[in-house]
């Protein structure tokens, strides 16, 4: 890397940027500390760690903005094995998270339209459209995205990412490393795990070539340890939702999951979740719930509806409902036990082939049944997500079985995780109102 580029990077990121973001956080913490700062009658004030989260995420994108001056950059799918890239020194960027951020900041229509104008259909995933639109237009709410030197695509969340990354590889003309994880219909086969492991070995070789240096095994093990520790802490954070009232809701988790997705294998992520856990324990000790008057508890299935997250949060809170768990956020913690830093490649193969989205519809139903018990939920909302077929196909049968066999009220809510044009406000409001009414009839817990 150019030494002047590195100076420019450090000046902007570590000197000016870091100081500015810390200043912003301190101001936000001051504002949050004022008694007049929070007005909701139904929702507790946001977790104190939210300001720290904002600082972390802003810093991540700030690093990204200047990364090309100083480091090699890899764009990675959210379920991708990031640990060896981190250990090699890559800056990693997750287009899906960037897509979600654009969704939360209501930038999707503008960016997606840029892709649609180039011929990308509205029937493809809205994260992909947002990302491709951002690449084509150069626009992003985070200032600037770094150009990738390497693309790493792992199909353990969907096949969509493969097609999406094929598009990115074509535009950027950089190596695309594929980690193809055969779908597990029932039990995983030995040859599938061997296949995934071999691909990791091949991926390491490609990444080393791009980086121009070999993977340091000690550093790799440390990264795996930090990844495992962060996943364990994240799981504990989510499990705090088992308390009544739940100190954290799944809607909070959708926001606070960003580090476990974007910053796995970093010390800062471990520190972050440790502090978040301490705050939740403090809330539990004081009897503070995410929703002030928690009467009903729900499980959420599928990705959030990013552009209506606040609306949904308030709607549920007004009705004394806390969404205490979600299969989506759970996916980033439930496999922590599979990480073995002493056997990094073997355990990485097991870890990355087993996410819920790479397993059959029956497994997801069993996961939901287990979570219903563990979190003592009164109902389930299955977000039928137009943009995510692997998550959504099967939900109709899953819902029917939850209602018929488990006697749990369950609602199939049609929407899209990122594109507000696929969301029918009136229909959704009516269906949610009817569902809340049904929940009300089941008696308070």
């Amino acid at each position: 890397m150019n030494p002047f580029g590195s100076i420019y990077y450090h000046w902007n990121v570590n000197l000016l940027g870091k100081a500015f973001l810390r200043f912003q956080r301190l101001r936000a913490e001051q504002r949050a500390g004022r008694p007049s700062g929070w007005k909701s009658e139904y929702l507790s004030p946001p977790l104190g760690m939210t300001t720290r989260l904002t600082e972390l995420i802003s810093r991540h994108y700030l690093e990204g903005r200047y990364a090309n001056y100083h480091r090699k950059v890899a764009w990675v799918t959210s379920g991708g094995p990031v640990e060896f890239l981190k250990a090699l020194g890559f800056f990693t960027l997750y287009p899906e998270n960037h897509g979600a951020l654009c969704g939360a900041r209501k930038k999707v229509i503008e960016l997606s339209s840029a892709a649609e104008n180039e011929g990308y259909s509205r029937d493809i995933c809205s994260y992909a459209r947002t990302d491709i639109g951002s690449v084509l237009s150069g626009k992003t709410p985070v200032g600037r995205l770094p150009r990738p030197d390497l693309l790493l695509c792992c199909t353990n969340i969907c096949q969509t990412v493969l097609h999406w990354y094929c598009v990115l590889a074509h535009y950027f003309q950089v190596p695309l490393v594929l980690i193809d994880t055969p779908f597990i219909y029932g039990e995983v086969t030995e040859h599938a795990v061997t296949f995934v492991k071999k691909q990791f070995e091949e991926a390491v070789t490609v990444a080393e070539k791009v980086m121009g240096r070999s993977l340091d095994n000690r550093r790799f093990r440390e990264t795996m340890e930090m990844s495992a520790e962060a996943a364990r802490l994240w799981m504990q954070v989510m499990e705090r939702g088992k308390h009544r009232p739940a100190p954290i809701s799944a809607i909070d988790e959708f926001i606070h999951m960003a580090p476990i997705v974007e910053m796995r294998g970093e010390a800062v992520t471990v520190e972050y979740y440790r502090a978040l856990l301490a705050e939740l324990d403090d809330r539990i000790a004081k009897g503070i719930g995410a929703v002030k008057n928690e009467r009903k508890r729900l499980l959420w299935d599928n990705l959030p509806i990013w552009y209506r997250i606040r609306y949904l949060s308030e709607l549920f809170a007004e009705n004394g409902i806390t969404i205490v768990a979600s299969t989506y956020t759970n996916a980033w913690g439930e496999l922590a036990h599979l990480i073995d830093p002493e056997r990094p490649l073997e355990s990485i193969a097991q870890l990355y082939i087993h996410p819920i989205l790479n397993r059959g519809t029956g497994y997801k139903l069993e996961t939901m049944k287990r979570m219903i018990e563990e979190y003592q939920v009164d109902g389930v909302i299955l977000h039928s997500n137009r943009s995510c077929k692997p998550y959504s196909v099967g939900q109709i049968d899953q819902r029917e079985r939850l209602v018929q066999e488990q006697g749990v009220p369950a609602l199939l809510l049609e929407a899209d995780h990122n594109d507000p044009r696929a969301f029918s406000e009136e229909q959704a409001v009516n269906r949610l109102a009817a569902f809340i009414e049904v929940l009300g009839e089941t008696g308070d817990n």
Binding site: D123, Q159, H163, T194, F195, T361, R386, K389, V393, G394
Partner: protein
């Protein structure tokens, strides 16, 4: 079509095969090892939808944004359309077919064994090795289901027969414009490969090839690309506008003109053949490879344009289209995208788009 070139009907072929003591596998799209099934005396009969059936049963399990191949396929299973089959085979082609296979296994639970096959998305040595192992497990499933246990020489014999059929299929495509068949007749002939035993297809194909004349068919030469030419009315619509299909990039046809595998180990040989087949979005081929492949098809066939006949909600195809079209445009090759649903009639919009396109390229 001349009277002597008779294409047996799917139901006839199935009955005949069963009468001779054979078994039948209903195979969903797209890639699978025909020879492996034939070595077990199992006739693979492909199920691309099927088109124009009552899809209501499938709609009870699938959201409206799932493609019609999957919706119709599920309806067909539930309504008993596949009762004649002894196995249901679901190759992994996309997220929707993945969900379809999973729903079948976990919720619908048909009486017949459901055999999923994972098709790796690369062309690396590790992909071939994995797929070889995957085929070994399909072999085991079939053997455990009492379909016998063919020896390696028997497998090789079945492979060679299918390779010969594939070679003839390629020849039919090469001689396409010299064959005395209309587009719809031609497609009925080549799509008979979806259910005819290899040996019968070889006979039919030889007969067809022998009919090649000296003078090519007249018409505006075009290439069709997509997943499957359904509804097949598109072929008549092309003819009505003076067009003739001179090459094919359908997933059910042109993208399955597999090269013969090289290995002496039969399962690996089948794996090589499929993995190293023509570029296909559903196998994760780089888009650049597909651009080059299409340009080559245009160059070799003399086509004046490409019609992308896309099935609604087919993500693998939709992701590729903008870059494919730009790649063609840069080479001065016009293209058009028309969208259809296999369960519906050809829409007026499709007809109009085709008409305009043919006017432009003629």
């Amino acid at each position: 079509m001349p009277a002597s070139l008779e294409i047996p009907r799917r139901s006839e072929v199935i009955s005949r095969h069963k009468e001779r003591g054979g078994r039948v596998a209903a195979v969903f799209p797209i890639h699978y090892p025909r020879a492996l099934f034939r070595a077990f005396n199992v006739l693979p009969v492909e199920v691309w939808g099927p088109p124009k059936i009552e899809a209501r049963q499938g709609e009870k399990h699938l959201q409206s944004y799932t493609c019609s191949i999957v919706r119709n396929g599920l309806s067909f299973v539930i309504s008993g359309g596949l009762n004649v089959a002894d196995f249901i085979v679901v190759p992994h082609a996309c997220d929707s077919l993945q969900g379809f296979g999973s729903i079948l296994i976990d919720f619908i639970k048909p009486e017949k064994p459901v055999i999923p096959i994972y098709i790796p998305r690369g062309t690396r040595e590790s992909d071939i090795e994995f797929f070889t192992e995957e085929l070994k497990s399909v072999f085991t499933r079939l053997a455990e289901a009492g379909a016998g246990s063919p020896s390696d020489p028997e497998l090789i014999q079945a492979i060679e027969r299918e390779e010969e059929a594939d070679k003839l299929l390629q020849e039919i495509f090469q001689k396409r414009t010299h064959l005395p068949f209309s587009d719809i007749e031609f497609y009925r002939l080549v799509r008979a490969r979806e259910y005819l035993p290899g040996e019968e297809f070889i006979e039919l194909a030889r007969d067809a090839v022998d009919r090649a004349g000296d003078n090519p068919q007249s018409g505006i030469p075009i290439i069709l690309s997509g997943i499957v030419p359904e509804p097949m009315e598109i072929l008549n619509a092309i003819v009505r506008r003076g067009g003739v299909v001179v090459a094919d990039d359908f997933a059910c046809l042109g993208r399955r003109l597999y090269p013969a595998g090289k290995s002496e180990e039969p399962r690996r040989r089948m794996a090589e053949s499929i993995i190293l087949g023509p570029p296909d979005s559903t196998r994760g081929s780089p888009i650049g490879d597909r651009v080059r492949h299409l340009r080559k098809l245009v160059e070799e066939s003399g086509a004046r344009g490409v019609v992308f006949y896309n099935i609604k909600f087919c993500e693998p195809e939709l992701f590729h289209l903008p870059i494919l079209r730009k790649g063609l445009k840069d080479a001065g090759i016009p293209s058009v995208v028309v969208e259809a649903d296999i369960g519906e009639e050809l829409s007026r919009q499709v007809e109009t788009s085709l008409e305009t396109f043919m006017e432009v390229i003629k």
